[in-house]
Amino acid sequence: MDSMLIFFIVLALAAVASAVGLLVSRSAVYAALYLVINFASVAVFYLMLGAPFIALVQITVYAGAIMVLFLFVIMLLGAEKLPKGGSLPWQRPLAIGLSAVLFFEAGYLLLQKVQSSAVLLQPEAQINTMDAIRELGINLFSIYLLPFEVTSILLLVAMVGAIILTKQEKGAKE
């Protein structure tokens, strides 16, 4: 067992354990922090897969901006303590069964796709080089220029929408 595999397994355990922590934690703040751990370990997966740009975007956008927004809303609403107890007794086992089915179906379909291609990851000397980022940028600004611009409009609309949705109406409340 080589060192990369051990590293991968440790990282995978961290990712899965933090996902479990997100699911079972009683406090919304702890859930958000578990999600940060999960995002960070997925970012390391991206680095191992030779996608340094995506890894850093993951850290800055997901673990940085989005989680700060989550924590801000949790603090703003004062909703960090979650009420206990379930109203539907059959909900939890049914949900676990359904998601197990989902896991096996997704895994089966994806693995079938892998085996039909029968290609494994090729060892390359340098995968985390600037070339990958340069190629990504060239593609993003040539072939995918229109989606890129549409994305900017989407972000603008989301920003305006968030402001409109949270705006206090004048005279609606004291």
Partner: protein, 103 residues
Amino acid sequence: MEGTIPLTYYIIISAILFSMGALGVLIRRNALIIFMSIELMLNGANLAFVAFARNYHVITGQIFVFFVMTVAAAEVAVGLALIVAIFRSKNSIDVDQMSSLKG
């Protein structure tokens, strides 16, 4: 870096993350936790994208992940604004109490 990880392992991790996100959406009733679980599902799908992009030596998978992240950022901004608006009117973010439309 003497060895490489088979693509299969990444796919399994991705499927685990995705189904755990789905499980979170199903069993939690706090709207914020449900939202975080959706982010977990997006992460699982992104991991599969990057793994396949690496495997087939195409950059398109990474570009898709970039777009997914952008859309996720927009979605979080609007979704959290909705949660804040719901909290203002109902004083709770428990999804079981959002039953005004129930017949």
